[in-house]
Subunit: 182 residues, 2 copies
């Protein structure tokens, strides 16, 4: 299965960290690419830095037209999932979605054009309470990939050895021992 | 099962929206309360507003001492889970954690004191890649509650009717039709 995430309506001054988290979750939970409407150099840098240190080949494409990408994706035979608290219950549709090979997952910020609801093959709700697009994306991808993504390997990066206490990291570039949070 | 979330190391200028998302995820995924080191009126307002409109009795307690809360929790017989990318794989420990009744889930920001790793009953990793504390919390709670939280009802608030297209909201207070993001 090939998954791409489309981040819609990013506002650079306000959404910087949330969109960075959307990008990091996309990568960590098995998506190959994030498409971003607009540009934001600080997000490009943050994601490039994580790929450089932690491996894999996750890509970011900026300044896309959301509608152009959605239409192109569908014309190429892919399916489009729009995450929204108003949508169908995830539990009822995820098995059907998983039968398809190319999935575009759309994650909105403050306002999502009404047209998006019509263009989506599925509008999907991760719970029906307001919470977070970062959380919705992670839980949806976890269900879509049935937990397989949690043990995914990323080529060429640092690697953590799971441990009940302390921090164990191995990799080619120990001088880059990460100062990432926690 | 009773779950409380402790948000550690919140920096008001930088973490406002991330901590708000941590709080919204805590509520939506079934926690009863969030404890916050420090104060941040904008977070208090955002969470109070969601509880007012969407129901339930989720509480926020600010200005706590993280270490005091952790020690008090353990003395009262509760268990402490610290989410960290360096911890044990969630898949290997979540069944054991679920056997306990009172769980404090600790979610750090940039820096977590080394002492936290020792005080935790479990250090738990949701995947072993850098991503987001918002995502880690949501996916952990979803596994802990085995998806039950996704259909949880909240008393006294607006309610969404899941729908493949459009937005259907019912509730006592239709004049408050939410302008929340999706």
């Amino acid at each position: 299965m090939r998954v791409t995430v489309l981040r819609l309506g990013h506002r650079p001054e306000r959404d910087k960290r949330i969109t960075t988290h959307v990008g990091l979750v996309s990568r960590a939970f098995g998506a190959e690419e994030m498409l971003l409407t607009g540009r934001d150099p600080s997000i490009e840098e943050s994601l490039a830095d994580v790929v450089e240190r932690w491996g894999g080949d996750f890509r970011l494409k900026t300044d896309v037209s959301w509608k152009g990408e959605v239409i192109r994706w569908k014309e190429a035979g892919g399916k489009v999932v729009h995450l929204t608290m108003y949508g169908s219950r995830m539990q009822n549709v995820v098995d059907e979605i998983r039968m398809h090979d190319n999935i575009l997952v759309v994650v909105g910020a403050e306002k999502v054009p009404a047209e998006m609801y019509d263009l989506a093959d599925w509008n999907v709700a991760v719970g029906s309470q307001p919470h977070s697009e970062v959380a919705a994306l992670a839980v949806f991808l976890d269900h879509l990939m049935e937990g397989q993504e949690l043990t995914k390997d990323f080529d060429g990066g640092l690697r953590i050895i799971p441990s009940p206490r302390g921090k164990q990291v191995v990799g080619h570039r120990k001088q880059d021992f990460p100062d990432t949070k926690d």
